[in-house]
Subunit: 371 residues, 2 copies
């Protein structure tokens, strides 16, 4: 069996060990020879280049993705050519366009922030008036890691973006914390859920994940799981789905965004769960039975490694990290360290959450060059 992955980032990279274990051949259409997933890159090309994508897809049994940026016309051409595209174009549309997502969540009755589509400054001003004078404004497409997101208090602050088309305006949610619920679904219908996790963001980027989310057993975990299962089934998602959630100060759970691929909030599963999100994604897109999703230890803590303030020599920092943290599991992405860029992550698992958070942060800081 041969799986093709569009995009050669760290998510494709981390599918490689899972493919090795399952005895699956994996091929990647990478952006260049230095792609994070370069070990499995068999063709170079852009995700928007229909010819390159179609040529690549000819040699694989199933096509899946490192990211959601394959344009719908290219996806349609793949389906037309008989390629098994998982997740399919209809599902992916909800991860590509935040307005499509918001409309659909309303139809499904899934709780989400108050929102509106705003086509001009007058509509945005009206939304601001109705929502306490502040709003989160998002470009419907292309945003990630805090890009394409802005908090505004006056309509003029979004004038530049409005010139390019309608925007999504959302209430500024008063949240206690952010959570993420991951599920996996295969074409034949089986759906499994990992434990709900807590995610800590900084500068629009995921910084830390604690699994399972502390103080969430019972009602909150049940609601989050129900939401993710509902979304996976209603949108016919195949593969892994991550639902980013807000837990509000008044204890409601609201859907923030979706990702239909392995996601930063699930990196802990490599070391902390019986089945990792990368193995599960491959199993799901190949329509193989899904694996157990339980935690291997009471707690897992994942901390991202971001490129530090100086362009440092990452290799020279690795020995110190390994010497000081013999139980930490290091995952480097083979990417050049630029300030703020995700270049790896560290996971520790065990019984003592306080100690694990300390260890994971210290290990990550060691690599970032900030410790």
């Amino acid at each position: 069996m041969r799986v093709g992955v569009i995009g050669g980032g760290q998510l494709a990279r981390m599918m490689v060990p899972a493919a090795v274990g399952l005895g699956i051949d994996i091929a990647v259409l990478g952006e260049g020879p230095d792609a994070s997933a370069r070990l499995a890159v068999t063709a170079i090309g852009a995700a928007g280049d229909a010819d390159a994508v179609l040529a690549f897809a000819r040699d694989v049994d199933v096509l899946t993705f490192d990211h959601e940026h394959v344009p719908q016309p290219v996806l349609a051409a793949l389906v037309e050519a008989g390629v098994a595209v998982r997740p399919g174009p209809g599902a992916l549309a909800h991860a590509q366009d935040k307005l499509v997502l918001r409309r659909r969540m309303d139809e499904l009755g899934v709780p989400q922030p108050v929102w509106a589509e705003v086509a001009d400054e007058a509509q945005l001003a009206a939304f601001l008036d109705a929502n306490g004078g502040r709003a989160v404004v998002k470009t419907p497409r292309g945003g990630y890691d805090g890009k394409g997101v802005r908090v505004v208090t006056a309509a003029a602050e979004a004038a530049d973006w409005l010139a390019d088309g309608p925007l999504l305006a959302e209430e500024v949610v008063d949240f206690r914390r952010e959570l993420a619920q991951q599920v996996a679904r295969r074409p034949s219908g089986e759906v499994v859920a990992w434990p709900l996790v807590e995610t800590v963001q900084g500068g629009g980027v995921c910084r830390e994940v604690i699994a399972p989310a502390p103080h969430s057993a019972g009602r909150i975990a049940d609601i989050a799981c129900d939401i993710a299962m509902t979304v996976a089934e209603a949108l016919d998602v195949t593969g892994v789905l991550a639902v980013e959630l807000f837990e509000t100060v008044d204890a409601r759970i609201l859907v923030n965004e979706l990702a239909m691929r392995p996601h930063n909030s699930g990196h802990w599963t490599i070391d902390g769960a019986t089945t990792s999100q990368f193995e599960q994604h491959l199993r799901a897109v190949l329509d193989l039975p899904l694996g157990a999703t339980g935690c291997r230890d009471p707690w897992s803590v994942m901390v991202n490694v971001l490129g530090g303030p100086e362009d440092g020599d990452l290799d020279s920092r690795v020995p110190g990290l390994l010497a000081e943290h013999p139980t930490a599991k290091l995952h480097l992405y083979g990417k050049a360290p630029r300030p703020g860029r995700k270049i790896g992550h560290v996971t520790v698992t065990g019984d003592d959450l306080d100690d694990l958070v300390f260890q994971a942060r210290a290990a990550s800081a060691r690599l970032s060059g900030t410790a």
Copy 2:
């Protein structure tokens, strides 16, 4: 950092996930394009072809091995060319030639079976007379998985092998069970040991491994660990060393054989230990600090998957295995299933050893086509 591996078997294949995590580039000199480690094969050539091996070694920082079959003259040429060869030729000689090993173990005072070098039938007959009329006869070089090993009761039974040179004759050890002790050592001297494991052989091939070895805490584990540490240091081993041991019916521990690379007895570490033997091997040969070697669960059971009685379609058996054993960790080697050939392994971990053995055997049999 770039590690080169001579040989493209399943051991090289299973180094790939470890390299991905550590952010190390890995290149493999494979026997052909269908090698088990084909994902990382960058050159095709035989381990005995000095030109091919030297050309391959030019692009790597450290050279290591999937097997011990690189001839000493080729190893010498590599060292001469300035290549970092780990383990080095002097250490590897003990894994390549069983007579060299037996002599050295005697020098070190390490307990081992009664043995003799026999050059002709008269010498073998004398050894048989002195050892109860039975002996294990081994070709000094080239044997593995039961090949090159024969139990004889008359010297004539080894006449064919004696025509090719001296043999190793050993007493037939009356053993209670077989054990294996794995350690890892880096050039700067750090040595770490995993827990002692019990190995179950069948037809000369490793069938099952239980980690840690039941009923071995204390004296037996201490002796095994001391032996492996002594051997690793005395032979200047770098990388992973597996010492195969007999536990005799009178409770002695005797050295059977050595392997200076990741070994079947350590496959359980991928899923059952904090640091796998494959990650540790890469860390050790790169002289990076070594990782923690503790068990992640009270018990781990690894069962090999051998090609079954019929040349079956392995792919068609995978869904049944995954459906029936959602907690089993499957590792397939991308090899065509021929009867008796090692094509993969399954590991399960947990609290209940009886249940784990049952699960792992059932899962393996499912894949072999024998269940």
